[in-house]
Symmetry: none
């Protein structure tokens, strides 16, 4: 009573290629080989295969699986050893995750990389046409001028502040706030105050930004993926835009 390679593979949820591989490395031999070279597996082979796949799912390598199945090694010991290295791997990943997270934070915080990107969005003529089309020539010129006038340090600072505000915006959006509600309007006010305090920007230095500039900026947050990402994606950015627009209509 035996079955073809394809049949056994489907039964066990694997592929015929894998079975042939296991045969090649001596992990699981067919119970019978036909005169035509076809491999056939019986129920014992199937049982062994199922144990193999179970151990494989636990993350054991082929030599380890062979060791366990052939009883050369103490089963519990092998698994405990494996568990040990699984834990080490996990620790390694934890450290890497922490490193990547802090790296991203540093970048966001202003250490050149992100600033370079921002520069792409403002300074580089690469997007000039696109920006002009979206927000008009004057807006582009204004946006570009004040950004270009800033020193690298100021740009970093600008990005940092942008990030700080962004986290509050994201929190408000996530909390299901109304863009025209108190919380969102308070944030819009802070945002406006900040922009208004930046010399060189339209309205900058007077304490309140130019209305068109403020509204246009909100639109840009949504339209430009690189900005939208800062505000938790398109939805978050749309929330910010709506709040900014409402604020501008009332107070600017």
């Amino acid at each position: 009573m035996d079955w073809s390679i394809q049949h056994i593979a489907r039964l066990a949820g694997t592929t015929s290629r894998t079975l042939r591989h296991y045969g090649d490395v001596g992990l699981l031999q067919p119970s019978r080989i036909g005169g035509n070279g076809y491999r056939y597996y019986d129920e014992h082979a199937l049982a062994r295969l199922q144990r193999i796949l179970m151990l494989r799912d636990l993350g054991l390598g082929i030599p380890a699986i062979a060791g366990v199945l052939d009883g050369q090694r103490d089963n519990a010991e092998a698994l405990l050893g494996h568990l040990h290295w699984l834990r080490e791997e996990k620790n390694r990943l934890d450290r890497q995750i922490a490193s990547v997270e802090t790296t991203i934070l540093k970048m966001e915080g202003g250490e050149q990389l992100m600033a370079e990107e921002m520069l792409d969005g403002f300074d580089n003529t690469q997007y000039k046409d696109e920006v002009e089309e979206r927000w008009g020539k004057q807006a582009y010129a204004d946006g570009n001028r004040w950004w270009a006038a800033m020193t690298a340090g100021e740009k970093d600072e600008w990005m940092l502040r942008q990030k700080q505000l962004a986290s509050d915006w994201i929190a408000a959006a996530a909390a299901g706030e109304d863009p025209t509600g108190q919380v969102a309007q308070a944030l819009a006010k802070r945002h406006a105050n900040w922009l208004g305090s930046i010399p060189g920007t339209p309205g900058g230095g007077t304490g309140t930004p130019a209305k068109a500039y403020f509204v246009g900026l909100g639109e840009m947050y949504v339209a430009d993926d690189r900005f939208a990402a800062n505000y938790g994606g398109t939805d978050g950015a749309a929330f910010v835009r709506d709040a900014m627009k409402a604020y501008a209509e009332k107070y600017l």
Copy 2:
């Protein structure tokens, strides 16, 4: 101003083979190649190399590193994507770890292997002298007698129950509980009730274990590494011992 491949490798903390590999795959080209074919790297190449190694330490693959360094991809986006898969990998490991742990528990609970280990501790004369020296002749005799009287199935059950209780003990210890506090004392009570319910043990069958046996068992959890491991190491076992001792003093 440039340096040999070996020199740069040492400066950056890698190997010349790696540098040649990076050259082959187009990740880092030497700044100059001598008439003899020797590779030379200048300060710019070194800077790039250092960024490469940093990204490598974050776990990025060569194509991803190239993408980031050549600015083809958004830096933050690339890192966020990488972060995503790091987290997935970690989740996968977590699941595997859990699977391996329960597999080991099952084996311990019913499939003889761990029982054999336990048997080492109790049944085998290998540790007889040591045990006698630690807990006295009578204690060893008692411990050995009831253990030896159990059937294999009972032994397995005992180990499983032991494991079940252990996880609660570990959790309590990890939570910073007081050994004499409510939580720990409740656990000690469960532990005592369980031991007291096992016929053949000192006090077993009466519902409450013998005081000396109970206290001695707690000591053993600490003294014997094989038991201590079950309770999260020496510290965890000491927590259990203290709780058991306090409970015995009050109620046994």
